[in-house]
């Protein structure tokens, strides 16, 4: 079973030491700017001149660039092909092949959309590369986010790999008893039932036991919870967060009353 259940890479950089909420605010601000900010080149600029330098500052540059491109390249390829050929209202033909013609308006639209998606995904990627999920959740809970909400988020991160392991164990058990999981589409679909049944019912039993376990450890106690990990927060960071919020408001204003 894998020890690594999140994107988190341990380093001792400035970015890692920042308060989780500061990083979360930064991620949201960058995404907001990429979608609503001024200028055609802004999203691409944010990725190249803000996110990439930040990732190297955090000591996770290689992971960051590699993972963000690997996640998004197939999508971008698809986006460029579709938009450059079929973008409605495209007039400026760059070149034609048989009945297909590549138009520059479509290319431009595809580039803008792609760079926006890139900022959206990579901002969160950077956040999770240099923020431990339990630090983020503890900090949000400390600031008054409901404990049940942060429990759901962190436990989902952990339970998904467990469910996968369980599904493959059931599959092994069923095929060792002669269930044929290969073959054509109909055969495969039919063999799905003996896999899904035990997985779902087994998980329901697990959920009841887990509920007992976390109740037994006082999850529903009325006290205000304390936190094992001390999460530092500084005055400059708080000011920085208010600054980010102001930037979002200014962008909103620019969108609503452009003049």
């Amino acid at each position: 079973m894998s020890d690594r259940l999140s994107f988190y890479v341990e380093r001792s950089s400035l970015l890692h030491r920042l308060n989780p909420l500061t990083k979360l605010t930064l991620a949201f601000t960058l995404i907001f700017l990429a979608f609503f900010g001024p200028g055609y080149w802004l999203p691409a600029g944010l990725y190249l001149f803000v996110l990439i330098p930040l990732s190297f500052l955090g000591g996770v540059g290689k992971d960051f660039v590699r993972t963000s491109l690997r996640l998004l390249l197939p999508l971008f390829l698809f986006l460029f092909v579709m938009q450059s050929l079929f973008y409605p209202g495209g007039k400026t033909v760059i070149f034609s092949l048989w009945i297909f013609s590549v138009k520059s308006e479509g290319m431009a639209f595809a580039f803008l959309t792609a760079s926006r998606i890139l900022v959206m995904v990579s901002s969160f990627l950077l956040l999770f590369l240099c923020t431990h999920p339990s630090a983020l959740m503890n900090d949000l809970a400390r600031r008054g986010a409901p404990a049940a909400l942060s429990y759901i988020i962190t436990s989902t991160l952990q339970i998904l790999p467990q469910m996968q392991a369980k599904a493959s164990a059931i599959q092994d058990a069923q095929s060792s008893r002669g269930l044929n999981t290969g073959g054509n589409l109909i055969q495969r679909t039919r063999s799905l039932l003996p896999l899904v049944g035990p997985l779902v019912f087994g998980s329901l039993v697990d959920i009841e036991e887990r509920a007992i376990a976390i109740e037994a450890r006082g999850f529903m106690l009325p006290e205000k919870k304390t936190s094992l990990i001390d999460i530092p927060d500084t005055r400059p960071e708080a000011i920085f967060r208010w600054g980010m919020l102001l930037l979002i408001l200014l962008t909103t204003g620019y969108r609503l009353w452009p003049s």
Binding site: S134, T154, Q158, A213
Partner: protein, 283 residues
């Protein structure tokens, strides 16, 4: 004064026709180590859940009779009153992991965070627990990357760190090998000597005979035996109720048929008793 007092306790799970517990009368003194044995479905787990408040506060259903534990009455208290006083460790260690923590160390902290223990005290208590349960070297691992036995120790540590007055254990050593089981039994025995009250449902009769102060035998939700392990385990009717007797008792019983074990002497339960008995009988 007894820390656990049950008077004529009867419990039906929701929609169940037959009671899971029927007319249970039980007293346990503070610091006592009580073992509960019985076949599957005899009511061991239901008794554990009743003592820790999950019956009826979590499972609902119908609970009749009296139960007082660590100063609270189950009819007048909520589950969270139990949580502060009574610890529960159950069988499947995998499902006792909170799922929201990424290391063993943080996992043990989960209960303390809920109890609002300050961080410095938290660390001291967790460190003590890591040593007590022998999982110090696993502190930084993911709770899910542990073996069943290691997870079982973690489940025990996670509850013990909350310092309950009464500890309820439902087959806490099912995933442990004999050496690991012995270590865990030893830890629990020491805790009971220090004044913690222990109630443990367990299949491993030989261990129970060696460590527990008293033994309770359940069959179909009723008590059919209650006394010192040596008295209980030499009861001839035990196998009818699905309770395995220890291999030492089996050997001595066979020896008795062959005339190698004096018929006036009680049958042995542990290895030491068996060795002593045979040495005496065979000269």
């Amino acid at each position: 004064m007894a820390i656990i007092e049950m008077r004529n306790l009867t419990y039906h799970y929701p929609l169940a026709e037959t009671p899971a517990l029927h007319g249970i009368d039980l007293e346990v003194q503070q610091g006592e180590f009580l073992a509960v044995v019985g076949a599957n479905g005899s009511g061991k787990s239901s008794l554990c859940y009743a003592l820790s408040g999950f019956v009826p506060h979590f499972f609902k259903g119908k609970l009749e009779g009296q139960l007082n534990i660590a100063g609270i009455d189950t009819h007048q208290s909520g589950l969270m009153d139990f949580v502060r006083r009574v610890g529960l460790v159950f069988q499947n260690p995998f499902n006792q992991i909170s799922g929201s923590k990424f290391s063993v160390y943080e996992e043990i902290a989960f209960g303390l965070e809920n109890l609002a223990v300050p961080p410095t005290e938290m660390r001291a208590r967790i460190d003590a627990m890591l040593d007590l349960t022998g999982i110090r070297d696993l502190a930084d691992r993911s709770p899910y990357a542990l073996s069943g036995g290691q997870q079982q120790r973690l489940a025990l540590a996670s509850i013990l760190v909350m310092q309950p007055q009464v500890l309820i254990l439902d087959e806490p050593t099912s995933q442990l090998d004999p050496i690991g089981s012995r270590e865990v039994f030893q830890v629990i025995k020491d805790l009971s000597r220090q004044g913690m009250t222990i109630v443990m449902a367990e299949h491993k009769i030989e261990w129970v005979a060696e460590f527990a102060d008293r033994m309770l035998v359940l069959s179909q939700g009723e008590i059919i035996g209650n006394g010192k392990p040596s008295e209980i385990l030499s009861l001839p009717q035990l196998p009818e109720h699905g309770v395995g007797i220890s291999r030492y008792t089996t050997v001595a019983r066979l020896a008795q048929k062959e005339g190698l074990w004096p018929s006036d002497q009680a049958l042995p339960v542990t290895l030491t008793e068996a060795v002593a008995g045979f040495q005496e009988a065979l000269g």
